[in-house]
Point group: C2
């Protein structure tokens, strides 16, 4: 049995839903279907979830919300009409919108109920469509499916007891269509996951039913070995491990939320990333372990927005506790660091600069000067991180040479190298302005 | 004015002391002379300091010590006779040995007094010899010189108030010969520095008198760019910065105690390493700053005896405080770590394995498992660290390529690279068994 999850672009309109229907029909193993809210149909389109947030916000603020409400309804009714479904589906959706708007209690709980309408309606529409097409499909509410979560609006965490309940979905006949993105607290409140949470639902269902595979349908044929905005027509990755996926996701690969996959990863369920618009393409398979292959590098990821803080202090390495004290200041200031390479009398801390305001910088630098009595402390913003990723990379002679020559060929100075702490990646730090030529040169070296 | 310090081999016998006399005579700026205890005259010889430790131990244990005592006296009398000095010098030395043996108080204090006889006697002999040669030389006791230290036997620390007192040595006429290795506490007790402490004395005197140069006379022409036991006839280093010296000293360069130089470094006094047996050779100059030269790598150092501990935990980088907690365990267990490179879900800690017993390993590993709930933790012993050192290395394109190709050419797998945390070095970790071929290949790439 497989769990198939369809993302926003796969359920954006009637045409896409028809494709989804065909995909489900073509493989009898696709018993558990998880859907997102309708996504964009064209680049300037508004995602259903954003429409619902606008509706909820206007309603909460006592502003006119009728226009928001009718755009939501229109979007659904358009899909329903095009699919020539019974209008009772629309009635049901309208009813659930009304219920969501009238949820009592804190704002966040009502907002969660409103946001969840996108996925919930997608599931209702798809199950009606599949039934209409003669398939034995049933809408299953997450509560009925057994998705019991913590009561943290917008950031629900699955509770361990859910999985046994979910496993019993096997007993149900037919194709089960489950809305993604939300579950229910023990008290019965609807609570949403963090954004992108349909991936989380899919992964939870896959883990719960112990699926043979978790298929994640999106709008690309596969995961690419490098960002296609930097390198034209890059090679596709056919298979990669969870670890490789994690390292690639970390630095800019955003095919999906890698953390969403944790429940599936824990059960060692293979994940397949496929394209709704080209279901014949093999996609990219993400597995717990793979055979050692000759090519040890599977992908090159990159991300900007990093910052490094450098401190030097004579005889630092004789001072037991220095590193710990430095990291303690970061922890105190609520900054999660990414790496902290150290030399003899020097140490750097690399972190994302998103929340590192000038004020925060001031406070961190002052504390370091006062509490650690360092000789120098300096900050370097606009740092880019490049990850060269592949299982077995650490045990292959010459990979570091290949990578470093690629930088030299591109005339890019390497500010930082960190190899060996991870068994599946090498990390490089360079100036953000040189990212494109560095990546292009690395791609040529490793893939051409 | 210069401070010249002569190491153990330079004062090992009459022949060496004659060379020292010529060196002092040849440059009128050599006003402040610091001496070690007589060192080895041939490879199986016993250093004076070790003879004195044996004497002190036997005396303390109530064992027969007469033989030890006479070997000490014989060694000095031999030097004095060969230099044809007045025997009153020997009387003075014998008198000071007697006083040292009768020191009251804790064992450590008496031991310090006995150990100090080596340097103290060297200074007395040298000043007598210089006087005999018609030079205006005077023995200056460290107390008279103003070397006031903390009362920690065997590990004295200089007290800040010393420096003003030392500066007033300028008022004294002639050449001042000061024994290295010890000072006096405020209470007037003789206290020794850590072993190799004559370098400390020389550096303190240089800082105190604000010398134009601190000359460190030893038995090599210069600092070599690489360990001569691994590469035959390696290039000599003519000039290097304090920082470069520190990085080279860290991994195996042991021309002298780099920490001993701190007082001189703080005052930015240039240090020159010279050879008593070949004083015409320019030696190696160690300076605070040097001109940027084309060759950015000055030396390659290496050391074995490192150990790495690797931990992995899914989603580690989301866990604020993980790194700090891990380093905290090391601190708790009294292990000073050298480097702690981290990946996304992985972190390594590199440290010296000297005191990392099997028992300690067990305790550290168990704490990490229990307190940090990691997925895996493993230990890798027999790691060697190689430092490629040079100012400006970080800003030079292609250095990393040159270094990594050298490893690849030698067929050596790189376990670890850490670049960028220090501005003057790149660190590599490899298996200790492959150190020679790696170093030879690196040397060929950078120096031939």
């Amino acid at each position: 049995m497989k769990v198939a999850k369809f993302g926003g672009s796969s359920v954006a309109n009637a045409e896409q839903l028809t494709k989804v229907g065909n995909i489900i029909r073509s493989d009898q193993d696709r018993k558990f279907i998880v859907v997102s809210a309708p996504g964009k149909r064209f680049s300037d389109d508004i995602k259903m979830t954003d429409m619902l947030i606008a509706l909820g916000t206007a309603y909460h603020n006592g502003e006119a919300y009728e226009e928001n409400l009718s755009s939501v309804k229109n979007r659904f009714s358009e899909i329903i009409e095009e699919l020539k479904l019974d209008l009772s589906v629309l009635d049901e959706i309208e009813h659930s919108i009304k219920s969501a708007l009238s949820v009592e209690g804190p704002l966040e709980s009502r907002m969660d109920a409103i946001k969840a309408i996108g996925e919930d309606s997608s599931a209702k529409i798809l199950s009606a469509y599949l039934t209409d097409q003669g398939l034995p499909a049933f809408y299953i509410n997450p509560q009925e499916a057994g998705i019991i979560v913590s009561n943290e609006p917008g950031n629900a965490q699955i509770l361990p007891e859910s999985f046994d309940k979910i496993y019993s979905l096997h007993e149900k006949e037919g194709i089960l269509v489950i809305p993604g993105f939300f579950g229910y607290s023990k008290e019965g409140n609807l609570v949403t996951f963090s954004r992108g949470g349909s991936d989380i639902t899919g992964s939870i269902i896959a883990a719960g039913v112990k699926a043979e595979m978790y298929e994640n349908f999106t709008d690309v044929d596969s995961v690419y070995s490098v960002n296609p905005n930097i390198v034209r027509n890059p090679k596709e990755i056919t298979i990669l491990t969870y670890k490789e996926m994690r390292e690639l996701s970390y630095a800019g690969f955003s095919v999906f939320h890698d953390e969403a996959l944790i429940p599936a990863f824990r059960e060692k369920i293979p994940v397949c990333i496929k394209n709704t618009n080209n279901p014949e393409a093999p996609g990219t398979l993400v597995v717990a372990e793979k055979e050692a292959s000759e090519k040890c590098v599977v992908g090159i990821a990159s991300d900007t927005g990093f910052c490094s803080l450098y401190v030097s202090k004579f005889l630092m390495n004789r001072e037991i506790g220095f590193g710990r004290k430095l990291l303690n200041i970061f922890e105190d200031e609520g900054i999660s660091f990414e790496h902290a390479p150290s030399g003899i009398d020097d140490m750097s801390v690399i972190f994302r600069d998103k929340r590192f305001t000038a004020e925060k910088e001031n406070s961190v630098v002052n504390r370091i000067k006062e509490e650690l009595r360092v000789d120098t402390v300096s900050i370097h913003r606009d740092l880019a991180v490049i990850m060269v990723v592949g299982e077995g990379l650490v045990n292959t002679i010459g990979v570091a040479e290949k990578a470093t020559s690629a930088f030299a060929k591109a005339g890019v100075n390497i500010e930082m190298i960190n190899q060996g702490s991870s068994e599946v990646s090498m990390m490089f730090g360079i100036n953000a302005s040189e990212i494109d030529k560095a990546i292009q040169s690395l791609y040529t070296s490793f893939f051409e």
